[in-house]
Amino acid sequence: MATPSREVTSIAGGSARRALERRDLLTRWALILPAGLVLVGLMLLPMLLMALMSWLEPGSFGGVRWGHYTPEAYIKFLFDRNLDDSLSLNTDYLSIFSRSFGLAFITMLITLLIGFPVSLYIALQTPRRRQWLIFLVTIPFWTNLLVRTYAWILLLRNGGLIESGLKQMGLLQGSLDLLYTPIAVQIGLVYAFLPFMVLPIYTSLEKLDWRLLEAAFDLYANRWKALWRVVLPLAAPGVIAGCILVFVPALGTYYIPELLGGAKSLMIGNLIQQQFGASRDWPFGAALSFALLALVLLFMLIYALRFRGKGSLL
């Protein structure tokens, strides 16, 4: 193995230089190849296979029937097939999709409302304090979310900490009945994805030229106006990135509604999992996953087109 050169030197003349350049390019491709193969073979290919399987007939005990193509999985999403083969509208799945969108959207709004002031506060500290605060935001980001979601069960359940606390203060009679409701799922989602909102917004605020804010003050803007008209527009790429980083995983979340929600707070992820568990309809599961993937890619595309070159999402 040889390392590629940072720039192919141009001391040599035309053809020699081209030969060097070709060698450099080959080295680079050879270095990228292993990672590329893993990503194509175990990520891209499986997703294409999934798309293909969504157009197959389901096997009777799970699995698929290869070679038997049918759009049934996509029809099933909207319609029930009656005994006489006619279709009638079934909004069950659609309502799970719209509920997921609603929960993910509200999560995005709440995390933004909390995350922006917090990022602003951190960005205004001395570099040393900033580092500490960001470290404190990063720790939950990297610690097991399943376990942290479980911690909310301890807080929310009947006889749990919130209930007994409220009772002791005399604010509550009877039981709290919060766990296994959509509200519990909403709390869990906000809790899980808050760091995803804070980090990108902070990154864009950190790079901000604060003299622009001074200029706004010089021009008789008050604090809030300067914040609204100067800071917020300049932080927009970070805000949008944060919104996507919250919305996308919140939309596809599986175990938060599974653990904190009841039957009435099922989300797309649960529906997908069911197709590989009890329902045994793999093509339908593949179709649902593919629909989710398509939606996510659509959001990414819009983001990429809107904020081309203004700092990347990652």
Binding site: L39, W142, L161, F290
Partner: protein
């Protein structure tokens, strides 16, 4: 540079939002840790300090096997993903070339695609090619999503290196391999270490993908914990959860320190 003492930057109320934010973030974690040491079995009321639940965890052969599986998977996935990530990062740094954007898109894929979609796609793929679900399938799936976590810090570190160092080595008649081995690689170590640690944590913590592609014998710690939570809340769950949190926090802190060192040098 901003002066934090400047009254112009004082936005009233920000401080309290920040305090509430950190309370919201950390109270559930502290409650979980505290309850794992609670002598009381049933209620969430503190009755006394006890190590019993940790003893219970260490005496449970299923938990130990799950922990062992987690370690095997995380170690293997970390080694594989870091190895290919170092090569790719070295190949990607420096001048611009054809095919670069393609790889950039590819490496971001595991971060952008919802986990459940990756899980479904991997499951269907392994079953379609006739691979028995087990530790191997889990390791393969983990390697994929660990690649970006290993790759990004290494790439960032490489971008930050002074290109003149490698040039100086070349001027002193070092072969390209020699230059890499003796100059670039030693400077790259902090990036590699922090990338590998992040990959390790990500693999240790993964639940959704493992849940789909692990066969009966390949239960990892998070999957086992999920099963425990579903059958009922016991103090053992608190104890094992606390242990898992402790490992992550330790590794993040280490990775943070290594990263700081790297920057200071």
């Amino acid at each position: 540079m901003i002066n934090p003492r400047n009254p112009l930057w004082r936005f009233p109320g920000l401080f309290w939002v920040m305090v509430l934010f950190f309370a919201f973030l950390y109270v559930p974690i502290f409650v979980l840790v505290a309850l794992s040491f609670n002598a009381n079995q049933v209620a969430t009321i503190w009755t006394g300090f006890s190590w019993d639940w940790y003893k219970g965890v260490l005496d449970n052969p299923n938990i130990l096997r799950a922990a062992q599986n987690s370690l095997i998977v995380a170690t293997a996935a970390t080694l594989l993903s870091t190895l290919v990530a170092v090569a790719a990062a070295v190949g990607m740094t420096g001048r611009r070339f054809r095919g670069q954007n393609l790889f950039n898109g590819l490496v971001g894929l595991p971060l952008l695609v919802p986990e459940i979609v990756t899980a479904v796609a991997s499951l269907l793929f392994f079953l379609a090619i006739g691979l028995q679900l087990g530790l191997l399938t889990v390791i393969l799936a983990h390697t994929v999503f660990c690649i970006p976590f290993a790759y990004l810090p290494i790439r960032a570190r490489l971008e930050g290196l002074d290109p003149r160092l490698a040039e100086a080595a070349t001027d002193l008649y070092a072969s390209p391999w020699h230059t890499f081995r003796r100059v670039t690689l030693p400077l790259l170590v902090p990036g590699i270490v922090s990338g590998a640690m992040l990959a390790f944590i990500t693999s240790m913590d993964d639940f959704v993908i493992t849940f789909f592609v692990a066969g009966a014998g390949a239960t990892t710690l998070p999957v086992y914990i999920f099963g425990m939570i579903r059958t009922g809340i016991t103090p053992e769950v608190n104890a094992i959860s606390t242990l898992l949190l402790g490992v992550s926090v330790l590794l993040v802190a280490l990775s943070f320190v290594v990263g700081q060192r790297g920057q200071a040098r």
